[in-house]
């Protein structure tokens, strides 16, 4: 369960704005976090985000395959991303690094920038504390839940090799 303040963006948030290519040659998470979202929201990286929540529209994370994108958001202190839909490579990358994402078109539409939102990962229930509205996110299939439970794809693989 996490509760945080919402930073909301529009449709088709692409990986070039999440983390511009000019910073990809210094791939440490802390370095990436310093420049996260700066091309569309320079104030985002300026403030700390301990447990805040990012909300996007349709096709969040489209474009490049750079895993640097979910890594940058995660290292910024964002607890999870809620979007109407995710671009498929971003979706894979977030699962593979164990970063929580929730697909919920209704929540992505209704929640406003600056709202306080809580997310129960166990049930997938998203609550907009500012308006009192509840939303149900799309559940992960058991196979993907298992990867997330292991903390990502590589720990999952490692555990399987040992088994």
């Amino acid at each position: 369960m996490v509760t945080g303040k919402v930073f909301k963006y529009g449709n088709n948030v692409d990986t070039d704005v999440i983390i511009p290519a000019r910073y990809l040659n210094a791939p440490s998470p802390d370095e990436l976090a310093k420049h996260c979202m700066e091309d569309i929201d320079p104030s985002f990286a300026a403030a700390p985000h301990n447990g805040d929540i990012m909300v996007g529209g349709w096709n969040f994370g489209c474009g490049s395959s750079r895993e640097h994108a979910p890594v940058a958001i995660q290292a910024s202190g964002i607890a999870c991303v809620i979007a109407a839909s995710f671009a498929r490579i971003f979706y894979r990358n977030a699962i593979n690094i164990g970063f929580p994402i929730l697909e919920c078109p209704e929540a992505a539409e209704a929640i406003q920038n600056g709202d306080t939102v809580s997310v129960d990962f166990a049930t997938g229930v998203i609550r907009d504390e500012t308006t009192g509205e509840d939303f149900q996110a799309v559940a992960f299939p058991p196979f993907i839940e298992n990867i997330i439970a292991h903390g990502g794809l590589l720990p999952y693989l490692k555990a399987r090799q040992k088994g």
Binding site: N12, D14, D16, V17, P20, A21, R22, L24, N25, A26, P27, D39, I40, W58, N59, C62, G63, S64, S65, R66, E67, H68, V71, S85, A87, R88, I89, R92, N93, N96, I97, P141, F143, I144, I147, G152, L153, L154, P155, L157, K158, Q161
Partner: protein, 423 residues
């Protein structure tokens, strides 16, 4: 129920008799690809998880193509990490400066990808090899690490959109115009999580280079992959390049498609994407005349020999307009050599273009042609997002090599037909 071409390839690699859209499967990989940007991140997670062996040194390809020849010290460090990893595991297909080309042009050229294979690459444009009738898709660095360690990865079997091609493209219409038209029609998430299955009599009218360009940009419609049937042109291309056995898969007659998009190639016109989304398309005659500062001809989308020939044809005996910077980047060493042998290099240099070593360079605002505030480029690359080629207030118009070359000569966004008629 029947399977699509993509579903058949995935089923075969998962050891299953059949799969259907939505199934989660684990499939064996024929090739795992990484570049100088994504490999170091994969190496880090590979090592941190405690893996000490790779699955097959012949089935991993590492190509240093993005920031090379290294543009700065940080990029040099990344290349060093990749180089040392390749050396440590005696990776067979490691390509460094002097041999390297842009990954999605080089792998088909070297015969490292073949019809019917499953390929993952830590680069979103890995979907290019669908042109050969392979299943190939872009993944992240952790996926690359998992693939290198185990030779397998997980996939959700995609539902499919059929793209039925008919007719024959006109003189100034290339694969780039076909894919930009399709993205404009269905949107940047029009094929999200799905495969694009190209089919119909129009396929035979497209060259292999056209097909590479089309499959390359499947990701710009959100697709998992974009795949073509295997025909005589495919066989001629892989003949002499691929020496191992390969399989041509065909879609079942009763395969299920979520929807069908019909495109009459004969009705298409040269098409461009205005800033800042590939789906923001216009036919050239609607928007010609827009001011530009730079032209880029190259990339994994359009850096192949037919692209070079197409541009050279329009630049021959002409000059790049004053005030325009025209950067030509053949995608591989072989293509560079071919340009030299065919006299194309001379045409470019005499016209006042610069002729670069193979690199992804300006496409992602890396180097070799970044844009300043307020500048606009016509580019044969694949993305025109905010800040993609440089400053956040710069702009990129996506176009074919013919449109790009005509624009370089005219000094503004221009139609190749107009330039040709002036003669």
């Amino acid at each position: 129920m029947g399977m699509t071409m993509t579903q058949k390839i995935l089923a075969a690699h998962a050891g299953l008799a059949s799969v259907k859209a939505g199934d989660l499967i684990e499939a064996k990989l024929d090739l795992v690809l990484g570049n100088d940007v994504t490999t170091p991140v994969a190496v880090k997670v590979f090592e941190e998880t405690g893996f000490s062996e790779i699955f097959d040194r012949d089935k991993i390809a590492i190509l240093l193509d993005h920031y090379t020849p290294c543009k700065d010290i940080k990029s040099a460090q990344l290349c060093k990490t990749s180089r040392e990893f390749a050396k440590r595991f005696s990776i067979t297909h490691f390509y460094d400066v002097g041999e390297v080309g842009i990954e999605h042009a080089l792998l088909p050229e070297k015969g490292l990808v073949a019809p019917g294979e499953v390929i993952i690459g830590a680069d979103s444009h890995t979907c290019t090899y669908g042109a050969l009738g392979a299943f190939s898709t872009g993944v992240g660095s952790t996926d690359m690490a998992a693939g290198m360690a185990s030779g397998e990865n997980w996939f959700k079997v995609p539902a499919a959109i059929r793209v039925e091609l008919t007719g024959k493209p006109g003189r100034w219409v290339s694969g780039k115009d076909v894919i930009l038209h399709l993205i404009g029609k269905i949107g940047v998430d029009g094929a999200l999580y799905r495969s694009l299955e190209f089919t119909g009599p129009g396929v035979a009218e497209l060259s292999m280079d056209d097909r590479f360009t089309i499959s390359n940009m499947a990701i710009e419609a959100g697709a998992k992959n974009g795949i073509f049937p295997v025909d005589e042109k495919t066989r001629a291309y892989v003949s002499g390049r691929v020496t191992r056995a390969w399989t041509a898969y065909e879609a079942d007659p009763d395969a299920e498609y979520e929807s069908t998009v019909e495109i009459d190639l004969g009705a298409l016109q040269p098409t461009v994407s205005l800033p800042h989304l590939p789906s923001n398309t216009r036919v050239i005659d609607e928007v010609k005349g827009m001011a530009i500062d730079q032209v880029v001809i190259g990339s994994c989308t359009n850096g192949r020999i037919s692209d070079m020939r197409s541009a050279a044809k329009l630049l021959k005996g002409r000059k790049v307009a004053p005030g325009i910077r025209c950067i030509v980047i053949p995608a591989t060493q072989e293509i560079s050599l071919q340009c030299l042998r065919e006299g194309l290099t001379e045409i470019f240099l005499e016209a006042g273009c610069v002729f670069s070593v193979p690199t992804c360079g300006p496409c992602l605002g890396g180097h070799m042609g970044c844009l300043a505030e307020g500048e606009r480029a016509v580019s044969t690359t694949n993305r025109n997002f905010v800040g993609r080629m440089g400053h956040t207030k710069s702009e990129v118009i996506l176009a074919s090599p013919a449109v790009a070359a005509a624009s370089a000569v005219k000094g503004f966004l221009a139609s190749p037909a107009d330039l040709y008629e002036e003669e």
